[in-house]
Symmetry: C2
Subunit: 317 residues, 2 copies
DNA sequence: CGTATTATTGTAAGTACTTACGTAAGTTAT
DNA sequence: ATAACTTACGTAAGTACTTACAATAATACG
């Protein structure tokens, strides 16, 4: 038990499960108290049917928030115990329309009475606490519907990672890293082309001298990302050589590099930033989209075979 | 979903379950986010072992509040994934001592980091709500440990039933009920004896005239319980002919009748109330005990074959 | 010292749901 | 009218635990 205390809310899911098991276990005792030949898990289905007979399996599932499969199974059991009966739908023969049998109808008043007692007891239980469990659950469900847990955790991690990621300006000492990171992904998805090697081996001559820029991203002592901005003409720069090592992908490093490059292009007075990519590279395209790039219709021919999509980001001065 | 709104807290268990499922489902997404080859359900076990290696299966189960069987299964899976290893205990060969493998140890820092992120995210999630779910769960768990749900529901029901149960003084119109209720249980557990029939057929002559009393309990328009007080001598009354119809048992009707009888005995100046019963009748003996009766050592011989236990309640004037 | 009891674990089966999938009935497009 | 699809349902299998039971080791008792 001390696990929960130590882990705190990390184990929220486990703890919810444990409490729900405790509750359902005790629910069985409650039925025993009333000596009803009835299992707790039947309650939602039975109750829904009793209140409004003639609903189909799917409708009941909708009402209680379970799957149709679960309802189907419970209904089967209820039929076995002669508490409900099913008929084919009149207009629609696919539907299984459920209604109470005489035995089920006879049970219903007692069950309602018991439900009222349970309700009063749980309401008293909830009222005992300073923090109302029922309302708290409602709030958490609502919050999770807005942003999933994964989304929230990602936000936390991104913030933590952001503090640890450094974007560095290019220097000759990074040429090897620059080449390694790009070769890594090009070789993984395509074939290295001569045009690649020229720029990767001599970034100074092919990128920086013509008025371009290169950045690298360092994370925990390793260089894990790279990105370049190549000058095409006075008003146009190309975002190229974007690479993040697989181990560091998903940490928002590409986005950070892209932001820096776009900011620099804007500072240099560019009217648009252009890029070429391949539709096979889903996550990369998504990143470009998030940076504001949109697909261009017609395009300049590319020196790279692998490029089958062109995007651009117009910059308003 | 409107089921929850309509049923309110009656469905507390179901709702807890649903929320916990939602949480565990999203937990899987979180692991995917970190690209860890790790399943959420392993977490408590793995974490416990990583923190303090060399614990046995039973000890881990104790720490995380699951059964040893669950831990055994998870450990088996973790072994299959080469994350932990098990050895026989040194002093005690029954114990399965669990520790991390090299691969498991390598995973641990990342997992810790992830856990810290999850914790921060869930804490922010909880902080968003006015009613703190974590604290509310703690309070409810505590409250349920004090009194189980069944106990609470029983209290509610007893109160409701008490208002509907009426204890009636005997009149000739109840002779048939008085006989029926007693014959019912005597015939069920034993054989009717001549002494029974005398008192049941002519309660006036055999119970009331000699200075005794008879009460009946009515519940929802039916007479469902009976009980008599027979005068043995100036200072001693016998509690007898206690009967509650099976359908109404467990509603505290016997206790109500017993209380009335004992109060009357006290009002009549009795020093003790005596009764005879049979050890086969467990619930009845429990009722007598709750009323304050205790087993007597030696006893007067009984006219009834079925009596093998005698109890008495001393009354201080 | 042998036997009865207790402790520790693993395995099987159950629980109350889920997801995945197949079948039959209905609906829409050609 | 036929093909292609969508919908409703039931069945099977999975999930993450549980309880029940069996096997083996340790300990207590006479």
């Amino acid at each position: 038990m001390d696990f929960f205390e130590q882990m705190g809310s990390t184990a929220l899911g486990s703890r919810l499960r444990r409490l729900s098991e405790q509750m359902t276990g005790q629910a069985a005792e409650v039925y025993a108290l009333y000596r009803l030949p009835f299992e707790p898990r039947w309650f939602p289905v039975f109750c829904t049917v009793a209140r409004q007979p003639g609903q189909s399996v799917g409708e009941v599932a909708q009402a209680i928030g379970h799957t149709h499969a679960a309802v189907s199974q419970v209904v089967k059991e209820l039929v076995r115990h002669d508490l409900v009966s099913i008929e084919r739908g009149e207009a629609d023969l696919r539907r299984s329309v459920v209604s109470l049998t005489a035995k089920g109808a006879a049970l219903w008043p007692t069950l309602q009475e018991q439900a009222a007692d349970v309700r009063q007891a749980t309401e008293a239980l909830l009222a005992e606490s300073r923090h109302n469990l029922w309302l708290a659950m409602g709030e958490v469900e609502h919050a999770l519907a807005q942003h999933s847990l994964a989304h929230r955790v990602k936000a936390v991690r991104d913030q933590r990672v952001a503090a640890e990621v450094q974007v560095l300006d290019y220097g000759p000492q990074y040429q090897a890293d620059f080449k390694r990171l790009n070769v890594e992904w090009i070789a993984r998805y395509f074939r290295l082309e001569p045009a690649d090697l020229k720029a990767l081996d001599e970034p100074d001559a092919y990128i920086l001298q013509p008025g371009g820029h290169i950045w690298l991203a360092a994370y925990r002592g390793a260089v894990v990302g790279a990105c370049a901005l190549i000058k095409l003409d006075t008003h146009t720069y190309e975002l190229a050589k974007m690479a993040v090592s697989p181990a560091a992908q998903g940490l928002g490093i590409g986005f950070r590099l892209g932001e820096v490059a776009v900011a620099q292009a804007r500072a240099l007075g560019a009217r648009r930033v252009y890029l070429e990519s391949n539709t096979k590279l889903g996550p990369a395209l998504q990143l470009y989209y998030k940076l504001g790039f949109r697909k261009t219709v017609a395009g300049t021919p590319s020196p790279y075979e692998r490029c089958n999509i062109q995007m651009e980001l117009p910059l308003t001065p």
